[in-house]
């Protein structure tokens, strides 16, 4: 059970604080009408950051659902830069540049899970090192894609890690209405692979579980399903009103286990974190996201973007449509 050392724990906490801080700023930007719908990461930081720190960025892929991007700082600044373009609704927001091994947000629940299996399968066929880690929610686990892909991965024994972030809710649907299974991890039984539930509020536990799964995967023993239990501390998205369905007692209880606060306190107690460090990290995080936002806003957008990248080259009808767009762009782009 490889545990994160203190140095790593400091980096993990830093990334968690950055994620939390930037999530706050993003929420405000949304409220000001500057960016589109946002799904806050609040409550997931420990699980996401803990998992990612157990990976090797050069060799291991991460396929997020939509709540994780702010927690993927370890994979490089391009992730945030691209995410801000995404939040603006800019087409370049879907293009995280090579060689960053991160895919853009997946809106179609569960749909990335078979991609992860295929990608891991392809890596093995090409004798590449590394694993694929795919994030998905408790809600997404009810999609056929999860099961079909999990079953296929079990048969093929490909190096994939299924990381189910159980935040107790799928929008308004609580987990007991999502499944009657003992746990989301227990669904691994259906695939003949190991399943483990870890406390997602404790990034060390998640780190350990992912490290173990990674060793399993890279040594040819196949996939692992990890369920990281957390609590969604915010709204589902900026379009959601959780007071309609989240019992306030549950939320208060969950807030006591806030992963960022818990680790901050522990690290402070152990002399590994301080208020001034915290302040510094927060300041840099805000500067960083504001920069990324400015850069994104200033990224040019041409009318051609609408037609580009559908096929490698336009069909004759697409050419006609492209000319129409270009010709009437002035008129259209009021």
């Amino acid at each position: 059970m490889p545990k994160p050392n203190d140095k790593q724990l400091q980096m993990i906490l830093e990334d968690m604080v950055v994620a939390r801080t930037q999530a706050g700023r993003l929420w405000n930007l949304q409220r000001q009408g500057q960016v589109g719908t946002i799904a806050p990461i609040d409550g997931h930081e420990g699980a996401v950051v803990g998992a990612v720190h157990a990976l090797e960025t050069e060799s291991d892929w991460v396929l997020p659902q939509y709540r994780e991007p702010l927690g993927l700082r370890k994979y490089g600044p391009e992730v945030l830069d691209t995410f801000m373009l995404y939040n603006l609704g800019h087409p370049a927001g879907g293009h995280i540049p090579d060689p960053i091994k991160v895919t853009p947000s997946q809106i179609s629940l569960g749909a990335s899970i078979p991609h992860a299996v295929g990608l891991a399968w392809g890596m093995r066929l090409k004798d590449e090192d590394g694993v694929v880690l795919v994030f998905f929610g408790d809600g997404a686990s009810s999609e056929g894609d999860f099961y079909e892909a999990g079953n296929l991965a079990g048969v093929l024994k490909v190096p994939v890690i299924f990381l189910c972030i159980n935040n107790q809710w799928a929008i308004s649907t609580p987990t007991h209405m999502q499944t009657a299974a003992d746990s989301f991890a227990s669904k691994a039984e259906a695939f003949g692979i190991p399943g483990i539930t870890v406390d997602g509020n404790d990034p060390s536990s998640v780190y350990e579980a992912v490290s173990d799964a990674r060793i399993r995967a890279t040594s040819g023993k196949g996939p692992t399903l990890i369920e990281a239990t957390v609590y969604r501390l915010g709204a589902h998205t900026t379009a959601d009103d959780p007071t309609r369905y989240v019992p306030s007692d549950d939320l208060s209880a969950a807030q006591k286990n806030d992963p960022v606060h818990t680790l901050t306190k522990e690290m402070k107690d152990r002399g590994l974190w301080s208020d001034s460090k915290q302040e510094e990290v927060e300041t840099v995080a805000l500067e960083r996201i504001d920069d990324a936002f400015e850069k994104a806003k200033n990224t040019p957008l041409s009318v051609n973007s609408l037609m580009d990248h559908c096929f490698t080259s336009d069909t004759s009808r697409q050419s006609r449509q492209r000319s129409f767009l270009t010709n009437s762009a002035g008129e259209l782009n009021e």
Binding site: P91, L109, E143
Partner: protein, 330 residues
């Protein structure tokens, strides 16, 4: 019955209809993601679980295929399911149940089983949603025999057509324009209101050219047609209301009368339902045409991200320009 009307948004009209139909018919069961406690992500099902209880309003797991598939079983048991697919784009997850099972249940069993199933789903652009929330897939369903496809364009029709859809012994895909939920308002009869499925609505009379559309595009078409009056162009507007069944008679009549037509759809051009309208006009009233039928469509690319949306979705400028071009042809 009183003849009173209230001004409602399309969303309110839908919500009210679900309330009154569930009251009227105890066999109705509502199922879908977040339709219960949350009242639907747009509040279309607000208040229903409180009124009709957890047995009749059911929050399901996130399993579109199981939603559509269990609706088949509910119908076999003699119940009347109304299933919600949270966004039409996610009907792809249930396609094998919708196209492969629901649409064929009656035919396959020679009416032993009756798929009295309504599938409600919002769709259409203009509100900067994430991927797969805005796609106009109606043409893909129109090529699946056995499904009726109903697309209201007004609050009043939303009530009248949803009432018919729920009561229809055949399966109905009831497609609600996202932009219209709050963006479309109008007077809606307070009492029971039925608009039969399969009858187009001549929203505006006209003599020179007819704009044919459905769902939210009807509103845009109407505005264009009205503005053209000032320029001396008499443009009719035909709201198809349903694309299956298609009101071929109304379509033929108005195209024959005007001799020129423009079809407006939000879906990609290739294989969109506008093509079927043009093919139908070709069949039925080719000789009346004074000009080729014009199409105003989305483009042949996936529904784009927010910043490109306004380029993609047909707007009044494009509709207007298509009408004017059609009028110029001699």
């Amino acid at each position: 019955m009183s003849n009173k009307e209230s001004e409602l948004s399309m969303l309110e009209a839908i919500n009210e209809t679900l309330h009154s139909e569930m009251e009227r018919d105890q066999r109705i069961v509502l199922l879908g993601e977040d339709v219960g406690r949350n009242g639907g992500v747009f509040r279309a099902t607000e208040g229903l679980i409180e009124k009709f209880g957890e047995n009749r309003v059911v929050d399901t797991p996130i399993s579109e295929a199981a939603i559509a598939g269990s609706a088949v079983g509910l119908a076999m048991a003699g119940l009347v399911p109304i299933a919600e697919i949270q966004f039409l784009g996610f009907s792809y997850q249930a396609m094998h149940q919708i196209a492969g099972q629901i649409a064929r249940l009656r035919y396959r069993t020679q009416s032993r089983f009756e798929p009295q199933i309504t599938i409600r789903a919002p769709f259409g652009g203009g509100v900067r949603t994430p991927e797969l929330h805005s796609d106009s897939l109606e043409a893909q369903f129109a090529n699946i025999p056995g499904l009726k496809i109903v697309l209201p364009a007004t609050a009043s029709d939303a009530k009248g057509l949803l009432t018919s859809a729920i009561r229809d012994p055949d399966p109905v895909l009831f497609l609600e324009p996202l932009r219209g939920y709050r963006g479309i308002r109008g007077l809606v009869p307070d009492e029971e209101h039925i608009v039969p499925i399969g009858q187009a609505n001549l929203v505006k009379k006209g003599n020179d050219v007819v704009i044919i559309s459905w769902s939210y595009q009807v509103e845009l078409s109407r505005r264009v047609a009205e503005s053209l009056e000032e320029e001396g162009i008499s443009a009719a507007v035909l709201d198809l209301r349903s694309i299956v069944p298609l009101d071929v008679e109304a379509l033929t009549q108005i195209v024959t009368h005007c001799g020129r037509a423009v079809v407006v759809q939000e879906a990609p051009e290739t294989g969109g339902f506008a093509s079927e309208i043009i093919a139908t006009i070709n069949d039925e009233c080719f000789w009346s045409l004074e000009a080729p039928v014009a199409r105003v469509s989305g483009f042949d690319v996936p529904y784009p991200v927010g910043m490109l949306e306004n380029l993609y979705v047909p707007d009044e400028v494009r509709i207007r320009s298509a009408v004017l071009k059609t009028m110029e042809i001699n």
